[in-house]
């Protein structure tokens, strides 16, 4: 019989992390809607997954990730037309509200493509940290480069400086088109950089306290 498990048969307060996750996040639970997870973020996470686990999902012995939970947070963009001549400027905000309390932040990185091939040249990109609207922006330097051309920037210090700053992270994605003279590339938007939260879920194998999903203190 291949009928899915009825969510209604689950207890009101699940006693296991997987059941709790099913009740709050699974299709059919209140408010669930398939998000726009696709493209570069999905490819990145699938690569990460293949490094961390075998085909049947068993974590590899090396445990190269060093943690049991990694959350990819997508940015919301704002502002008008990002292209201005050869320049691409996009303001991005990562909202971090609603993270489960049991997930302790170990490290946070922003992942982006510093260089994209175009038909007639390249698109070179960088990230700036927006501390306050009037304050000068801080250029972020990559701390690591991965095999598939991704660059990683460690933004942990900007997330853990006091609880009040944990609510969101503001960045500006800056790119410039560099190419041969006379080339006419149709402007392509580079994919938004995404935030990776490396978390230690202290309840991934234990019964959670009898309460609804927690929110971080702000």
């Amino acid at each position: 019989n291949q009928s899915p498990l009825p969510l209604g048969s689950l207890p009101a307060v699940p006693t296991l992390p997987l059941l709790q996750a099913l009740q709050t996040r699974a299709p059919g639970s209140p408010g669930w809607k398939m998000g726009p997870a696709s493209g570069q973020p999905l490819r990145y996470m699938l690569n990460l997954y293949r490094r961390a686990a075998d085909r049947e999902g068993r974590p590899r012995r090396s445990r190269s990730l060093g943690t049991n939970t990694i959350r990819l947070v997508q940015a919301s963009s704002h502002g008008g037309q990002p292209w201005a001549g050869r320049w691409y400027l996009q303001a991005l905000t990562y909202h971090l509200e609603g993270q489960p309390e049991a997930e302790q932040l170990l490290r946070a990185t922003v992942v982006y493509l510093p260089s994209l091939s175009l038909a007639h040249g390249r698109l070179l990109c960088a990230l700036e940290l927006v501390v306050a609207s009037e304050a000068p922006r801080l250029l972020l330097s990559p701390t690591a480069h991965t095999r598939h051309g991704w660059a990683e920037v460690d933004v942990t210090p900007y997330l853990v400086l006091g609880n009040s700053s944990m609510g969101s992270l503001a960045l500006r994605h800056v790119c410039v088109r560099a190419g041969r003279e006379g080339g006419h590339d149709v402007p392509v938007a580079p994919g938004h950089p995404f935030l990776l939260l490396y978390l230690n879920d202290t309840q991934a194998g234990m019964a959670p306290p009898a309460a609804e999903p927690h929110r971080l203190r702000r």
């Binding site: 997987l18 996040r25 085909r55 049947e56 959350r71 991934a204 194998g205």
Partner: protein, 124 residues
């Protein structure tokens, strides 16, 4: 002396040929689609939680990791009252599974859940 005790137990010798039905680990691959979770869990595609099935022998061997109580219950079933069931064949050790999940806000979550794959069985 467990050797002597074993020979004193009724039916012990008859059970020696019944190892095929003894408590053991069995494979059971399922897909997350069968569980109705495939719109939520995008990796892995295959999941083999496995299960434990079979009869717990009258005399529990060392490799069943049975606690003292299970040994006593086995004796009670055999020698005192058959209404008391034999110890049950259940998982003893587990391993975790890594899953990749889509979150409702478009985020993607990698998470390791403990105790998702049975690795060995015991009689409890």
């Amino acid at each position: 002396d467990t050797g002597t005790l074993a020979h004193d137990l009724p039916n012990y010798l008859r059970e020696q040929g019944g190892e095929k039905s003894d408590c053991s680990l069995r494979p059971f691959p399922v897909s997350f689609a069968q569980l109705g979770w495939d719109h939520w869990i995008i990796a892995p595609h295959r999941y083999n939680p496995r299960y434990c099935k079979g009869t717990c022998p009258h005399l529990l061997r060392y490799d069943y990791h049975a606690p003292n109580h299970a040994v006593v219950q086995s004796f009670v079933h055999q020698l005192v009252d058959a209404n008391v069931p034999r110890p049950s064949c259940v998982p003893y050790r587990y391993s975790p599974i890594s899953v990749l999940m889509i979150e409702r806000n478009g985020g993607i979550l990698y998470k390791e859940y403990e105790n998702m794959i049975a690795e060995s069985c015991t009689c409890r």
